[in-house]
């Protein structure tokens, strides 16, 4: 099988599995919505304050939701032995790992991007800032899946894996949060978002090039 075929076959499998277990996808999505709705209840309904916070709050909620969905990335396949078969398969690990991460992003990242404008409207973001928010999430959420995959692979099958993965992964998410939320802030303040979005894009490229190798090494460590 060519590399592309491997990725496509894996994508089809992952998406079929996700369609069969729609609850998992929806849980993460509602978690995202609930976290974003808690902030106004915590800080008060002042429209001006909320407009200032909006971009950052949606981004923090996206970070937490992405982290919460990491458990699904390898754990089920590890439990039923699929992961071992994948490791044994002749396909290069980096290729199928990229496919799995891509599928994870499609299932858990894309719904967040689609929901984000609704939350942005609740916070009173301008229409331009809403566009920037969606675009920054489009560039940033794949990075969350890529970096998160390293943490998920390292904590495979450990007790307390869920809490542990947050400790490992959240500090590494910080640059994405800064540039993502910074892009929205820049758009709101009329400063423009290009600089932040360019940096976010370069982080995406870097993560796309490096993390599959780290994930492959981490899986070898965890499975052997």
């Amino acid at each position: 099988m060519s590399m592309l075929q491997t990725v496509l076959a894996l994508l089809r499998r992952e998406l079929t599995l996700a369609m069969r277990r729609r609850g998992d996808v929806l849980t993460v999505l509602f978690f995202f919505v609930i976290v974003a709705s808690l902030f106004p209840l915590g800080v008060g309904p002042d429209a001006k304050l909320l407009r200032l916070m909006g971009g950052g709050v949606v981004w923090v909620a996206a970070l937490l939701a992405a982290m919460l969905s990491l458990g699904r990335l390898f754990a089920n396949d590890y439990a039923d032995g699929t992961l071992e078969q994948l490791v044994l398969s002749p396909a290069p690990p980096v290729v199928w790992i990229t496919g799995k991460i891509l599928a994870h992003w499609l299932v858990s990242g894309v719904p967040l991007i689609l929901m984000a404008p609704v939350l942005g409207v609740q916070y009173g973001l301008s229409s331009e800032a809403l566009g920037v928010l969606v675009f920054s999430l489009l560039l940033g959420t794949p990075v969350l899946s890529l970096i998160g995959a390293v943490g998920a692979a390292l904590t495979l099958g450990l007790r307390g894996g869920g809490v542990l993965v947050s400790l490992l992964v959240l500090p590494l998410y910080i640059p994405v949060l800064i540039f993502g939320a910074g892009a929205v802030d820049g758009a709101m303040a009329g400063l423009g978002a290009e600089a932040h979005l360019s940096l976010l894009g370069s982080i995406l490229i870097l993560a796309f090039l490096l993390t599959p190798w780290a994930v492959s090494a981490a899986l070898r460590i965890s499975i052997e």
Binding site: V150, L168, P171, L172, P175, I178, L210, A214, I221
Partner: protein, 248 residues
Amino acid sequence: MMNSLNLYKYASPATFYDLAGRMIPWFYAAAALLGVAGLYIGFFLAPTDFQQSEAYRIIFIHVPASWMSMFIYVVMAIWAAIGLAFNTRLSFMMASALAPTGAMLTFVALWTGALWGRPTWGAWWVWDARLTSELILFFLYVGFMALQAAIDDPRRADRAGALIALVGVVNVPIIYFSVRWWNTLHQGASVSVSKAPSMASIMLAGMLVMAIAVWMYAIAAALSRVRSIILERERNSQWVAQLLEGKA
């Protein structure tokens, strides 16, 4: 040839245990002597700063601690890389022995920074770029230690810890610059640590002596810790049994 053979000899935990045991007193002694000298320079010889009065004297602990906290993370990552590349158990043990000392120094740096910030800036904590990245460094240390603590199989714990240390060290510059830009965009240049007035040479001397003292202490502490790790890992081996019999 002889030289390289000698070095390889000390990659074995049994021989290194002995070597570390002989080195530890020297490093502790150096740390104590330099620490006393550095504190004496810092608290008695260095003049009072005309802007910050006596409060500035905390830098004699704060700056060495924060230098070493960053340096130790890099050293830890280097040991981790050596361990992954050459599959040497001792390198992994060194990496895990360094982590608690690094985390402790990071904490000291944050704590003394807060104590200094209160009289100087009027706030215990500001979201300055250096403070924030030091805090994130603390999180990275904690993550490394938590991951190793959660894994029972020492071989897997070693390798998983090494990998996260390497991922962390690649990310440190990205995190540092992102935090710096975030900071300049958000709050302007209200507080600037980087534009400190040039320092009297006696202050600099005190700080450097203290930095070497902290360095010596870190080596001694890491070596004592690695000795405990070696004993724990090798408890079923013959040489440990002989060692313990000899003591009993």
